[in-house]
Amino acid sequence: MIADNLPALQVVLPLLGAVVCAMLRRGTLAWGVALIVSLLMPLCAIGLLLEVLENGTISYAFGGWPPPIGIEYRVDIINAFLLLLVSLIGAVIMPYAKSSVEAEIAPENHAWFYAIYLLCLCGLLGIAITGDAFNVFVFMEISSLATYALIAMGRDRRALLAAYQYLVVGTIGATMYVIGVGFLYSMTGSLNLVDIAGRLADIENSRAVMAALAFLTVGISLKLALFPLHVWLPNAYAYAPSMVTSFLAATATKVAVYLLLRYYFSVFGVAVVFEELPVTEILLFLSLAAMFGASIIAIFQEDAKRMLAYSSVAQIGYITLGIALANQSGLTGGIVHLFNHALMKGALFMALGAVFYRIGTVKIDDLAGLGKKMPITMGAFVLAGLSVIGVPGTVGFVSKWYLGLGAFENGWWWLAFLIVISSLISVVYVGRIVEVVWFRPISQAARSAKEPPLGMLLPTLLLTAATVYFGFDTTASAGIAGRAAELLLAGLR
């Protein structure tokens, strides 16, 4: 019974949890509820992934209405992988959240915070699991509205402006998305993604279909912060509460990337997207612009969180590059980088959150000498930073290897070189932090710093260890990503 309803539980549990949190009104109790829900989520996701690996795609008719009339939850390897990623990050981050939230958010808002957080989680999981185009929009709005609120809770007053900025951009993105869905609906008369894919096959590629693709691409690209549509991201990440930044950086953009993958490969198909339209060229160009532009901007940041935010924009470039390559190795690289980047950026932002907890600032100058005061936290930061660079033995290398192979497979030697050159830029900004933290005298702010409480330290170390572990054992990351890529390239046609 429970096993049959796992797809529904995956989304309904956090939704219910949010309601309970809102009614509890007591911060610690609400945290307890959020913790329980967050720990249950990976169980659901693992159950779904195992089921999919064994029996193939799961189709779950919500409320008993069969698709395409009712809303279908559809789980295949690709989104099972994503569900697992999002829910695992959620589970790791919850124990961390307690101290961090107590330090950064006013006590009377704690219960609201956890309620909104669970709504955000619900929205992200919903986008990933649903097989219905309009349902995606609903969940997108749930997660986005929750995100605006979460960001606005940042301690810095500029968080309000950042949240507002994201609200404007996010709403434009969502509008674009829904217009795209509208075009698709007018052409096919369906909102079910599989159904749309089937019907599109019979329709000639009219201008309306192309317009749908264009609107969807731009709308989703805003959400996933594809360069140059990334302007909302650095402020949002920099001013949001630490826990929110860690969570969003590891999950939100990843879900948007998934959506792009889903539309490109499953709905429109490789033939339309990559052969009839210049999507490869556009995506390739923008990805490279992100990899170089955002990385270079990251070098000049004064605030470590902003620096990492720009680094995220650059790393998203690697993911979209994998999509643009559209071959087995390249796509595997892109998808595995979803996972890998979530691990490393989660770890990095959590380490910075721990720093913020202790010294109340993450300005790079204030971090001076912190290596002596918080050696474990900063050690974790450096290790995760090496992963961003893509040093062998870390997850970053695995992604880069696949992307490099993908470039060679397409015969694009020059691209392989651009990939490695861009990762060299990250040496500069990661190295800069290393130098400040370990080789400068202790700053005024860092004078009385010490390691964070275990509740924050252990999750950070766990994610950091994962960045090394999955650099060696890739059966669960690249293995599944490879199968997902195979499935996507086969398409639904």
């Binding site: 090496l386 660079i389 893509g390 062998p392 392989a416 060299l424 040496v427 130098e435 400068r440």
Partner: protein
């Protein structure tokens, strides 16, 4: 004990040692004992492996697949064996020296220093025993990263700047040139395993092979081929034991070792010789040999002169390998060992002078030989070996190189070796003359009180003795070198 166990032990011992050093930071004597015990244990294990290899047994581990085509695997072949022997032997001597130097100079942050050193040694052993390009690349990068803190050790602006150059050049070349070369090799050859005869032999057109060779040669920045050599002089800001072991033995040797390994096991000596793809390499290496020597001639800072001498000597190895005959490959392997033991002696001497008298410039060293006879005698032996004068180890490598070059009629190489020998004499002999024959200058009178601390003197005497012994008893390195070249 099985070979697999031995290899794993050789990798794990220094790594565990690093951890133990961290845990024993509360007592300097205990911590230093851990370093010495670790170094001795590693040496023993390496000797056991040497016994197996000389006995004709193959020593290898199973492969651990990371992604299809990328495997973590170790396999001991003669050249790696030689490299591991050199590194593990000299680590013991260097540890003794380090203790004298670090205490004598009251250096800060000694615990991280010894930890990074142990990690660097673990990765050096990993490079030596790597069975494929990926494993080698992995250990190569760990070596760079673990030695960066050692270069920037002092923490002043100069050290940080040196560290930056070090990190950017070494990581940069390896990521931008070496990694694409490895990916391309994986795509073209379908494997990354080192195999006798070369995995790329006959797999790609000559043009592609030439391009790949260039990517490898310049991608292996640790070999310090010009124009990618300047990380090495920049790294001289490090404490002298670091310069000695890492920048005379582990790091730079990892570079030329990788070059030789790539030429022998990835491209294949015969395949390269047939296609004539490597002729440019003779010129590039020869250019580096000569130019670096000329630059060394003009350095007044002793460590800088030694650094440029290293750049020059490294290219000897590359030159020898690019002559592409078995006898010159023997020369390359011998020179890796010979240069290691002689250059570490020279750096030990430089550090000894600094510790005892704070002198760093050659012009200040008039008559220092009378105040520090042991140090300067060791320096003289090391210098003679650099020039290639018997009875020192440096003669052996040069002999085989010259023989190889003459046999194949590569007169460019012959000329390079002869001219550079003269240049070597030109920048080393004056120091010896100055130290022993001139009366003590004002700097020496003011600062040089006597010999450096005992551990330092023991260490440099040992390596100077080793330089001579290797000439007198070259059996083991020669046996390994011959196994490598198949002659």
């Amino acid at each position: 004990m099985t070979g697999e166990m031995l290899i794993i032990l050789a990798l794990v011992i220094p790594a565990v040692g690093a951890g133990l050093i961290g845990l024993t930071s509360w007592n300097a004597n205990v911590r230093e004992s851990v370093t010495l015990v670790t170094a001795a244990a590693l040496f023993l294990v390496v000797m056991f492996i040497l016994g197996d290899v000389l006995g004709g047994q193959s020593v290898a581990t199973g492969a651990f697949e990371i992604v299809p085509g990328l495997e973590l695997a170790f396999n001991v072949e003669p050249l790696g064996m030689l490299f591991a022997c050199v590194a593990s032997t000299l680590w013991i001597v260097n540890s003794i020296y380090s203790i004298g130097y670090m205490r004598g100079n009251n250096e800060p942050r000694q615990t991280p220093f010894y930890m990074c050193f142990a990690v660097a040694l673990a990765s050096t052993i990993g490079i030596a025993f790597a069975a494929n390009l990926f494993t080698l690349f992995l250990c190569y990068e760990i070596l760079t990263l673990s030695t960066y803190p050692l270069v920037a050790h002092k923490g002043d602006d100069n050290a940080k700047a040196g560290g930056r150059v070090y990190l950017l050049i070494l990581l940069g070349t390896s990521m931008v040139l070496l990694l694409p070369a490895i990916i391309a090799t994986a795509v073209i050859a379908g494997t990354l395993d080192f195999q006798v005869g070369g995995i790329l032999a006959g797999k790609a057109p000559d043009g592609i092979i030439a391009l790949l060779l260039a990517l490898y040669i310049f991608g292996i920045g640790k070999a310090a081929i010009m124009p990618l050599h300047w990380w090495l002089p920049a790294a001289m800001v490090a404490p002298t034991p670091v310069s000695a072991l890492l920048h005379a033995v582990a790091v730079v040797k990892a570079g030329v070792f990788t070059v030789v390994k790539v030429i022998v096991y990835v491209f294949g000596v015969d395949a390269l010789a047939r296609a004539g793809n490597a002729e440019w390499l003779v010129w590039v290496a020869g250019f580096t040999v000569i130019t670096a020597s000329i630059v060394a001639l003009r350095q007044d800072n002793l460590k800088k002169r030694l650094a440029y001498s290293t750049v020059s000597q490294l290219s000897y190895v590359v030159l020898a390998a690019s002559i592409l005959t078995p006898i010159s490959i023997v020369g390359a392997a011998m020179h890796i060992a010979a240069h290691a033991v002689s250059k570490i002696t020279l750096f030990f001497a430089a550090g000894s002078i600094y510790t005892a008298s704070r002198l760093t410039e050659i012009s200040q060293l008039d008559g220092i030989g009378r105040r520090m006879p042991w140090t300067m005698a060791a320096f003289a032996i090391g210098a003679l070996s650099m020039i290639g004068v018997p009875p020192t180890a440096g003669f052996l490598g040069k002999w085989f190189m010259l023989t190889g070059a003459m046999n194949t009629g590569q007169w460019v190489a012959v000329a390079v070796i002869i001219v550079s020998t003269l240049l070597n004499a030109g920048y080393f002999l004056p120091i010896i003359v100055q130290a022993f024959l001139k009366p003590p200058g004002k700097d020496v009178k003011a600062h040089a009180k006597g010999e450096a601390p005992i551990p330092i003197v023991i260490a440099l005497t040992a390596t100077a003795g080793g330089t001579v012994l290797m000439f007198l008893f070259p059996d083991i390195p020669l046996a390994l070198a011959r196994l490598l070249a198949g002659v």
